[in-house]
Subunit: 351 residues, 3 copies
């Protein structure tokens, strides 16, 4: 029984990762083959030859024009997954076709739909436009996690851990000490968690990148659209700075921290992270600093979550966690994910 | 439930591998201890002391004359597996006896019978006399495969993969393009697959070893006796060369490619390979070239099959392959192997 | 179904291993956190935060005075395991408490009680006073074993293996050749195995450390109190030397070899070993020699038992060993351990 929701859109890659060569990534347990056609479209088909299972991403499999030739026996497929050539015979079996995945390239991400393609409504894909907008500069990466995706959801929905796990990077005492407010929009399928610190220490991550000195007003507004897209709207401003009635906010610095949380398997996760800022847009030093610093922070999470996965693997069945106020957002997210996973299961059972 | 046929003969080693020292190899999940007695006979007994399971091949276990002394508590056994000494007492328990395996050394191989020894009819062992005959020169080796034996059977029964996986070694476009003929001799328990190419490119493997230039007539006649012995009778000759009515074939070069496919466990295999030729018998350069080239080809298979084993390990249950004409021989072999495995199972259940 | 007895005392560490810093060890599958308080007491609590399972021994978790602060979200616990601080709120949930383990520091060991704390009667802990007495000098260590604890029990209860596995260290032909006597005190829960050799070769272990030359009288008196404490009372004396009627034994050298056999998991074990002697008390050369030599012997056992664990992992179900006279003590120990494991299971089922 899987805990991974099906019939959902997931980020499989950054668009920049996929060129005119074979690229493979496993999403929700399904190995998927990608390449960018000469026309610029990204193709997503099952990375497993229908004949004897050979991975089409594995050498000596190769791309010839916009067709992939299996490196084992030469079965050849077009961008739609349809087989166009079989060795030793001219007839192509009707069922010789790779599964093809609904795909949308948007906001720098390549999204694929895992589940029943008939349900793939691309208007449901959540947006993160700043990752690909003129008013922002973005640094990004992806770290492999040897832990189930729900541990990363827990982690990101409760930022009090910044104070302890990311102490000299993004955490200060005020993060853990300041209560949160949580809202759940069941209809839109979004969990909101907010923590507004009006007078807080400025952690190195923001002091170095913004140049702010002294104490700050720091807002953390989380917007999580399960299962995959997590956005942290981060506002840093001098203490006392206010948002004007017309919505402008000239003294503040805005950082949009985006995570795409994509299950690789039941017990491993692709941890995509991006940091978009609306200041110092052309300052490469700032870009370099934020990229290195955020990657360090992500790797601190990776190390901790990999440990938790191993702890879970050896704990007795029925072990119970203790939840407190800071977990309100995480628990709401878990409930939504469980409902999604249950719905996918029911469908799988009856279809 | 095992897919490995029992009550069958398997190649455990080359005779040349076994001298007057302890040698262990696992065949069909059974660890077997071999040594060559001072009289020159090869002995095969269970590689596990009856007392506390210590492997008799593991130091400080040792051979003393023609007896093996367990390195843990000193239990000592003769060539027939019978215990002859127990520490701390003079009485030897009647049941203190290692399982002994029926064994035949023949055609350069050491064959053992896995299953009920009462069924070990050595006349059923298939022959490969060229591996040990004056008219031939042979190069040989063994590569460990981290894949189930049936994947190697599939691989060897369908040589169209030579064109893709072994492209610059033994494969040319004609191999995949030329249809095969398949025959199954149910009574003798042999699968035949033939592909005769009358006008084909000569791959480096044969061009270098025979000295032939230009296009060739190339015959591939497979003769597989499940479960273990696979022979590829390969004939290479100038285009237009014919076999005379008296059976002589003076313009042709003959290569006998032999594989012994021995399951080590359910998911690993000993991949024995040998190449016997009837030309350039004393040419060490040719021997060296064929040994290196064939080992490279085998390692290409090993890499591909190891990948397939990992693919199978993660695929959903009930996954279906697609088979086409080139698979006729492989499918026939599978059916025979399944029948053999079923028969062994039934026997195991009722004995 | 576990084979590890519960409701039992086990050695978790040497007292010397635990200082004023976090120390973690898994005992019977339970990860336990230790530290020595500023008052000198050793504390033992579950090494897993009640909130999100983070190991409290894992950086950046840290000890602040006598409280441990979780490195993930800052949950803080006192020496009794009670939570004293939770992030983002002042109320501490009543159930926020780490499991605390009954603990006794004695005879150089830290003993913990695994099971129902109500049953923790510290008077039942077996003693090894020489490990911490003025009349003795002790060398000690611990080697991790990747094998189930019962394999180490088998090993230590049957010393005939010294002749083969530890041939040039502590084994001589007489050990395997001399019959044993075995006694079982069911009430006290002790297995005794004795082997008295009146005229035996002196192995290097004793020749080097005592300076004795020529043949010796060598007594091996085993006293095993399942599950954890094994003592070998070893007496080495010149041939013919006798114990006087008043109990004094002036010509003999006494070595107390102590093992604590602590299951880490079902398939791994902490192999604590100590060698206490009543001679050459201040001779550092002798201490160094005995420490190095005994560690070598222990590592020979570790290598052999790790092999046996792998053998068991691949053997067919229902495999039967053959036992002989030398196994009498080991079989008695197995029976006592099985009874203990069964009792713990029953309790677990009804509590």
């Amino acid at each position: 029984m899987t805990s991974i929701p099906r019939d959902q859109w997931y980020v499989a890659a950054y668009g920049a990762e996929i060129g005119q060569e074979l690229f493979s990534r496993t999403v929700c347990g399904e190995p998927i083959l990608f390449w960018r056609t000469r026309g610029g479209q990204v193709t997503a088909v099952a990375d497993r030859c229908v004949h004897r299972r050979f991975p089409l991403s594995q050498a000596p499999s190769r791309l010839v024009d916009d067709q992939v030739v299996c490196g084992y026996h030469g079965f050849t497929y077009g961008t739609d997954g349809k087989c166009v050539s079989v060795p030793g015979q001219s007839r192509i079996p009707r069922t010789a076709r790779l599964r093809s995945y609904p795909l949308v390239e948007q906001d720098s991400f390549v999204w694929v739909f895992i589940g029943d393609p008939a349900k793939a409504d691309s208007s449901r894909i959540p947006r993160a436009p700043y990752l690909d907008s003129p008013g922002y500069t973005t640094v990004a990466g992806m770290e492999p996690l040897k832990a189930r995706f729900s541990l990363l959801v827990d982690n990101l929905l409760d930022l009090s851990h910044e104070t302890y796990l990311h102490g000299r990077y993004i955490g200060t005492p005020e993060v853990a000490a300041t209560p949160i407010t949580t809202e759940v929009d069941e209809e839109a399928g979004i969990v909101y968690v907010s923590r507004h610190m009006d007078d807080a220490e400025c952690p190195p991550f923001y002091a170095e990148s913004t140049g702010l000195q002294g104490r700050i007003s720091r807002w953390q507004d989380i917007e999580y659209t399960p299962p995959c897209l997590y956005k942290l709207h981060s506002r840093i401003a001098p203490v006392g700075s206010v948002v004007r009635p017309d919505g402008t906010d000239p003294d503040a610095f805005h950082v949009e921290v985006v995570y795409a949380i994509t299950p690789e398997t039941e017990h491993s996760t692709h941890d995509f992270w991006a940091v978009a800022r609306d200041f110092a847009l052309d300052d490469e030093e700032v870009s370099k600093f934020l990229a290195e610093n955020n990657r360090t922070v992500v790797l601190q999470d990776v190390e901790a979550l990999d440990v938790l996965e191993r702890v879970i693997a050896t704990e007795p069945e029925g072990y119970q966690e203790l939840s407190v106020n800071i977990d309100t957002g995480g628990l709401a997210a878990r409930r939504m994910l469980q409902r999604m996973a249950g719905a996918g299961r029911t469908h799988a059972g009856t279809s």
